[in-house]
Structure formats: C-alpha cells, structure tokens
C-alpha cells in the first residue's frame, strides 16, 4: 500500500490544470545524465497481512525479555510502565503533530512540555529544564560544550566511573571545540577523590559526576561539593538516574550547575535502546539560560489575557541564530518527554518514592544474599542504588561460562563489564519489578552454576 489517495483520473485532471501531459514532465529540472533509470532493487509492495506475517517471522528470531528473568541495566532500565501511557500517547493529535510552530493549534503539546519541564525541575532540584534532548549520552555531550562556552575554559574532568558510552559520546562532542578530557581512576567502585583533587584547578571548565555512577555506586557527593567550593568558575555536571531521585538527594542540593541524564526509566520502554529521552536541567541563572541547548516552553497570555504556552527564548536556536546557535538540535524526543510527563504525573509524589525505595530494597536484598556465596564479591560498599558490581572469583569457571549457564536457566545475570570497560565482573540491575522469588532464584541458580 502506498497511502496515495488520488486516482488516475484525478491525477489526470490535476495535470491538465497545471498544463502538462504526464507526471514525468514535472521532473524536467533533473538533468538527464544523473537520472536514475532503473527500478529500485527493493521487493515489491506488501499488503498489511503480508507485512505482518513477514515481520512476525523475523520477530520470532528474537528472544525478548519476556523469555528471561533479566538483570540488565547499564543505561537502559526495565521499570513498571502504567498502562495509561501507551493509551494516551496513541491519541493521534499528539503523535502525528510536529514541533509546535503554530502555538495556538498546539496547546496540548506545549502545555504537556511545560508540565514536563516543571516536573523535571522538581525531581532534580534545579531551576530550569529544557523540553528534551536526543538521549542521555548526547545530553552529556551538549552539557560539556555548553560548559566550554560558558566558562571559556577547555579542561573537562570525565572520571572513569561515568558510563563508557557516555564518555565516548562526550569526547566526540567535545573534540571539535578543543575540549581536553581528563580521567579520574576508580577507587573500588567510586571515583578516586585524591586523584580528582589533583586534577581540579581554576581552569577546569567542568567536572562530570554520574549519580549513581556506572558501577552502581553513589559518589561522595558532599566531599566533591567541598572540593569545588573554591573553584567559582568550574561547573558541576551531574548525570543522574531520574528514578533514583525518588530516594536520593537531588543534585540541586549539592550544587550541581547542569543535570543531564537518560529519561527512559520514566515510563518509556527499553526498545533496544531507542527512542530514549535526554533530559537537561540547569540552575536558575539567566546567563546560563542563554547558553542552554534545545527547545524551551514558556507560559504566557493571549490577547484576551487567557493563559497559553509558546516555544520561547528561540534566539538561542539554530533556525534563528544559525551558525551561532547554542546547538544544532531541532527535532528532539517530544513524545518520549510526554511519556515521562504522564509517568511522573501518574506515579506522583508517593509513587516515585515507592518505586525508588523498592528498587533500593530489592537490590540490597540480592546484593546481601549474593555476597554470602563463596568466591563471590560485591565491589560496592554500602553505597549502591539499583545496580551493583559482582565479581566472581572461581578459577575453574570463567565469567562467560557463568553467563552462559545462567542464560540456560533463563536468567540474564547482568552486563559483562569486559564488553564495555577494562574491568571484570557483572553489573547487576534490580528494579521494583523483581519479586523475592525471582531474587532467591537468581541466588540459587548462581550457587548451582558455580558448584556444577
């Protein structure tokens, strides 16, 4: 099906009106020597039934998460998603609209974005949120070059406790702008505070801290804040898991200047890692606001004094400021931000606390039980949220074998750190969706696998 409405007689009528014989006459501007003169090597059209059959056949080659008890996290998280979210985003006035260029006919999207911005501010403890960026990693990239512009300094401290893919993306974004990235090594599962103290100086544009960090640990935020106290220009960029903020002190409380992160855990599915939702919030600071990338929605009035919403501060953006814009971003992740807004509204004040608490308690339970197994070590001390770093020291069994055998028991036991870092072990993620039975089964299965 081609979803073209006009019939051949109608097409003919239109051609007559225009005054040409055939449709191909409308393409005369394309020079003959570059014309494409053969059919595409693409299969012929399918009906709906045939398409569904074809796609189902391919889908059957996947083993999706419903086939496993999964403990995978590391940037993409499986949380409970209230049923209403998909029903509401399927309202086609939302999902078939575009960027709200005509505000008066786009009040739904605009008000929802204003509410999204407000709730992100509440959650992070920050003053201003934009209307979304492309994903958590690119949001960090944008934050790094924003700090470079804002401070006019080029040193950015990017500790090894930040997600490796985020580090890669931040480097990609920073490189053309002369950003010099400095490492801080690990100490256990946290960043090494002494090394950090050595790297920090007056010319540091920004320090990036992930909260909780890639290995699942909370950094010593109060001590980090103290180290930054005398460095007036250095910006603190916090990469925060928004679900964790239901339980943890918001980054605004310990002096974060920019908070970014992945909003997917807020009511969005995993979808193989995309579409995700980059969020960015900053301090309530006019100078910094002018450097903020991305769309912003503001409240205003119409000519009769009625409340309404518009995209605002657009002189920062690419279509107005051209090459001097704060970013090139145009299309963002509006529908995913809408999903996050519905999630935050539905879960609300109590729900976000309960989700975060259950994540913490269940992680704590699994962590404690696993640590009792001989040859199994949990690297994180009492500082994890919903992920921890499991080391298995059994000379006779490799980690790959453990993974394989757990998979045979339909458990995805965690992300193998060797795939992404120079560390050994599994990064295990537990969310509120797990039951005690699941967790006990994980422990029992691992014991069996290790004693096989």
């Amino acid at each position: 099906m081609k979803y073209i409405s006009n019939t051949p007689p109608e097409q003919k009528k239109m051609l007559q009106e225009i005054g040409v014989e055939e449709i191909s006459d409308l393409f005369q501007a394309i020079p003959e020597n570059i014309r494409f003169d053969r059919p595409f090597d693409i299969p012929e059209a399918l009906s709906e039934l045939e398409l569904m059959e074809l796609v189902q056949e391919k889908a059957a080659k996947n083993l999706d998460l419903s086939k496993f008890d999964s403990y995978l996290g590391a940037g993409s998280y499986v949380h409970y998603i209230p049923s209403i979210i998909d029903h509401l985003i399927l309202r086609s006035e939302f999902y078939t609209a575009y960027t709200p260029y005509q505000a008066e006919l786009s009040q739904g999207t605009l008000q929802a974005m204003y509410e999204y911005q407000s709730m992100i501010c509440e959650l992070t403890g920050m003053g201003i949120s934009n209307a979304s960026l492309l994903d958590g990693a690119s949001a960090l990239g944008e934050a790094v070059i924003m700090a470079r512009r804002h401070t006019r300094n080029s040193r950015v401290i990017l500790p090894k406790t930040v997600h490796p893919a985020y580090r890669n993306v931040a480097r990609t974004y920073g490189e053309p702008h002369g950003v010099e990235f400095l490492n801080v090594p690990l100490q256990g599962s946290q960043l090494n505070l002494d090394s950090l103290a050595e790297e920090l100086d007056d010319d540091t544009a920004a320090l990036v801290v992930q909260y909780p960090n890639f290995y699942g640990s909370l950094e010593e935020m109060e001590k980090i804040a103290e180290l930054l106290e005398n460095l007036k220009k250095t910006l603190l960029i916090v990469v925060a898991n928004p679900i964790a903020l239901g339980l943890l002190n918001p980054p605004g409380e310990f002096g974060a200047d920019i908070v970014v992160g992945e909003g997917q855990p807020l009511g969005n599915g995993v979808n193989y890692g995309g579409p995700n939702l980059g969020y960015m919030a900053i301090k309530d600071d006019r100078r910094m606001l002018r450097q903020l990338p991305g769309r912003l929605v503001g409240k205003t009035e119409d000519v009769e004094g009625e409340t309404g919403y518009v995209m605002t501060m657009q002189t920062r953006e690419q279509h107005i400021r051209r090459e001097k814009a704060t970013s090139n971003i145009c299309t963002n992740q509006a529908l995913n931000a809408l999903m996050a807004a519905i999630y935050l509204a539905t879960m609300g004040k109590k729900g976000i606390q309960e989700v975060a608490n259950q994540c913490y308690q269940k992680t704590r339970y699994l962590r404690a039980r696993l640590a009792e197994i001989e040859g199994v070590e949990v690297v994180n001390q009492d500082n994890h949220f919903n992920e921890f770093w499991l080391k298995i020291d059994r000379p006779e069994t490799s980690l790959e074998e453990v993974e394989q055998k757990m998979c045979e028991k339909d458990i995805l036991p965690g992300v193998n750190l060797a795939e992404m870092t120079d560390q050994k072990g599994l990064l295990v993620c537990v969310t509120e969706k797990k039951t005690r039975q699941d967790l006990d089964n994980y422990v029992r299965s691992l014991e069996v696998v290790l004693n096989d």
Partner: protein, 479 residues
C-alpha cells in the same frame, strides 16, 4: 477554554498507580548510604488519580492538531500520513521488548530488519555504507560533518570551511559549527539556485565540504549539480547531501549518482514515521566506500547468516548515542518501505510533486511566487503583496488556523520576504488540496475586504494570539 495544570487536579494522598507490596525485608536507607545522600523532602510531583491523569492528557490532546486532524503543509518537514500498521509493527512484543545489552544472538530478528533497512537506504540513495545511529536529521548532519572532519584529519589536510547556500535546510549552519567548522554562506541566484560565481569565489583549499539540500528549500532542483560537484571535488572538498527533501526525488535521482559523498536521511519525513509533536525522529547517515571507516561505532555487519555489531573501527568519528539510535523509528520506516515496495516509492515522489505543483499553479496568481523555476515537492510563496495592505505572513498563517488547517512553514527560507513554504505531501487528496487552496484565496479576499479579521487572527482556536514577546522577556518555564 484552558485546561488546568496537572498538579491542580491533585489532592494530598490521592494515588494513580498501584505496585505490589514490598516482599523483601525493608531497611532504612539512611543507615547505610553515604551521609547526605537520602532525599529529605519529597519531590513535589502531582498527587492525582488515574482518571484525573487520563482526562487531563485527553483534554490536552484535544487542544492539539496532527496529520490525522487534517492537512499539515509545513515545508521541508514532510508531514505525510503515518500508517497505523507501522505503529502495530513497532509494538510487536518480541521486537519492542529487547534490551540494548542483550547479546546479538538473542536479537537476530531485529538485527536482520535493521540490516535490510540499511540496504534499502543504500539503494535508494546510491551510497555504500550506512549508520542508523543518529537520532534526528540535525544529529545526522553532525555525524556526516564529523566523518568529513575525520577523513581530512586522517589525510593530514587542515580544512576549516563548510559552505552552506542560503537556500539550505535550516539546521545546516549550526551543525557546521557543532562539528568545529567555519560556516560560509553563499547566495542564491535569481533562479533560486546556487550562484556558481559566488560558489567559485568561496571555494578554495580550505573547503572541507559543501552542504547542499537538493531540491533546496524553495523546492527547486539544483540543475547545475554536475558543475557544482566538479568544482567542489576539484578543490579537494567533499559534497554533503541534506536529505530533508528526499521525498522529491525517490526513484528519479540518487545523491550517490550526483557524486555526493555523504548524505543523511530523515526517516520521520521521507519514510513516514510519526513526528511525535517534535520527535523522536531518526537521521541515518549513508556514505561512499572511502568514508566508511569513519562512521560512528558500532556498524551493523553480517557474517554468513549472522548479524553483529562491529566495534573494531580504529578510524571512527566516535559515537553520538548511548546505544544504536532510535530503533523504534527504524522499525516503522522498514515497514513503510516494505508496504510501498520499490516501485511504490517512485509513485510516492510523483504524487508529492504533482500535489505541490497543482497547489502552486492554483495559488500563484493570488500570492506572489518569487521564483518561477520548476519546483518539485514544495514551493515558496511570498506574502509581500498582502503586506502592502498591512497584513503580514504570520497573520495569514494564524488565519489558516481559524479554518482548522495547519499553516505552512513561515519566514523560511530567509531569502524570500514574508515566505510561506508549502509542502502538501502525496497523502493529501484532491479535496483536501482544493480546500487549502480555497481557504488561501478566501484569506486573500478577507485581507482586501476585512483586514482586521486576518490581522487579529486566530479567533476560533482554544487560545487566541499568544504574546511571544512577553514569554521571552519574563521567562516562566515551570510551575
């Protein structure tokens, strides 16, 4: 009619969610976590019931307008109808419910779809290798330019300039800056095409690339593309194709055959994935063989019948997304290409071009057509004639909303005064095109007879003209 903020539905203790009881022993997090890490005050989120939330967001949706509501002729945005079956495809549980850290062997079905999509995108554009990672068109531009940057770095050439015609797609200059280039803008000629003399003047040893949108935002195909490409390539530069307007050329011309080196697609435009109120989109990048080493990591590859992600790419430009890009959008685009079929894609372009030309023909006597050259899938009118009567293009756009139709892209491209960039797309039928044409003519008559009606528009929308200056002067960005 306004809708209260969601928090105004709230009442302390009201709940809209349910979770199972905690079934493990509960500890006090404050006893174990590092000092100062437990939140003291709860985030002030709404406390509403499920029905409150459903009514609120339903009410908001009623204050919105999408392609399903009617014509959405935003130029260069390609707001075509989004087939419903594609939503079903993206929601098939075995396709949607997979984790990005699952091993490749568990997701072969999805990787096969992505690989086929890559092949189709290579075939449609005449390019060799594809990355699906960029999450939007501008993201694709950035990746494309970073590939170019890496290519010259590898060759030991320092090239600092990117040339962008003034009729190019809007994000191009900002993407150039993001990728660390100096952006040089060149003027169009009286036919609405790249002025070859201006181009010749701008081209030198410093030029890394020319970014071209072809057809450009006037809907005009750059007839001199062969001379243009020769000029750039002879100077050692590369040619970048902005695929925003690919809907104009499917099956008629391919960027690869025009000797472009890098292109990006907008799956949400050409391949009909819903725009979501501003996203998610997807901006795959396709390159010629010699640029393939610089694509972002990882690249999807096939070994025998196994699909895998190739990370071993020492010359890569890096990475721009934590995972593999907007996978859910790619599934929809795949479904769209398969339902259209190879021949269908060409018919899509033919009808997009026919619809635009029909509209242009019917409107060119009422509104000024500043460039008479043949145009393809979109065209640009000017409200200059009406401005003499004191009515500006923004007023015309707002008056269209009163007739329950979305407005064209306005004040862009910048080279046309009082611009209205109209792109009807192939999915509009004759009746809908005629209705838009008729409405534009009515508005023109209103400007002569009752100008205040147009000047004060909109009258029938949920809110009337909004004060944008106030919003910018006193930013109110949150409750």
């Amino acid at each position: 009619m306004t809708e209260p903020l969601i928090k105004e539905y709230g009442s302390p203790g009201r709940k809209g969610y349910s979770l199972p009881e905690l079934d493990v022993p509960e500890e006090n997090p404050g006893e174990r976590l590092p000092a100062g890490t437990v939140r003291k005050e709860a985030a002030e989120l709404p406390e509403v019931s499920e029905v409150d939330a459903v009514r609120h967001f339903t009410s908001l949706s009623n204050m919105n307008y999408g392609v399903d509501s009617g014509i959405y002729p935003l130029g260069s945005c390609t707001m075509k109808y989004n087939p419903k079956i594609n939503e079903d495809v993206a929601r098939i549980p075995n396709l949607a419910n997979i984790h990005p850290h699952q091993k490749e062997k568990y997701v072969q079905g999805s990787l096969e779809i992505l690989y086929k999509l890559k092949q189709y995108l290579a075939e449609i554009s005449g390019m060799d290798e594809v990355s699906l990672q960029p999450a939007s068109g501008a993201h694709g531009e950035y990746v494309g330019l970073m590939i170019i940057r890496k290519y010259f770095e590898k060759r030991g050439e320092e090239r600092t300039k990117v040339i962008v015609p003034d009729s190019a797609h809007g994000t191009n200059p900002a993407s150039g800056t993001m990728a660390g280039f100096d952006v040089v803008e060149i003027e169009s000629n009286e036919r609405g095409m790249v002025d070859l003399d201006s181009l010749r003047e701008a081209v030198d040893d410093d030029v890394a690339a020319l970014m071209l949108t072809n057809p450009n935002t006037l809907g005009i195909f750059e007839k001199d593309i062969c001379e243009i490409q020769q000029m750039i390539h002879e100077a050692g530069g590369l040619l970048y194709y902005d695929g925003a307007n690919m809907n104009a050329v499917l099956g008629y011309a391919r960027p690869g055959d025009m000797e472009f080196d890098v292109i990006h697609y907008n799956l949400h435009k050409t391949f009909s994935t819903p725009h979501g109120g501003g996203g998610p989109g997807s901006g795959p990048v396709a390159v010629k063989e010699r640029l393939a080493p610089y694509l972002p990591v990882p690249v999807l590859k096939k070994n025998g019948s196994e699909y895998y992600w190739d990370y071993d790419r020492p010359d890569t430009m890096g990475k721009v997304h934590a995972f593999h890009g907007n996978y859910g959008v790619m599934l929809r685009a795949y479904a769209y290409i398969r339902t259209a079929g190879g021949e269908g894609l060409k018919e899509i372009t033919e009808n997009a071009v026919l619809n635009a030309n029909y509209m242009k023909h019917k409107l060119k006597d009422t509104y000024e057509l500043p460039f008479a050259s043949d145009s393809l899938h979109e065209f640009v009118l000017s409200g200059s004639r009406q401005k003499k009567d004191g009515i500006t293009t923004v007023n015309i756009a707002k008056r269209l909303l009163d007739y329950e139709q979305y407005a064209p892209t306005i004040y862009f491209p910048l080279i046309v005064k009082e611009a209205m960039m109209v792109e009807p797309t192939e999915t509009e039928n004759l009746r809908s095109l005629d209705r838009f044409i008729e409405t534009m003519k009515i508005i023109s008559r209103e400007i002569e007879e009752e100008p205040e009606l147009v000047e004060n528009a909109p009258h029938n929308t949920v809110v009337r003209r909004l004060d944008e200056a106030k919003a910018a002067r006193n930013p109110d960005l949150r409750w």
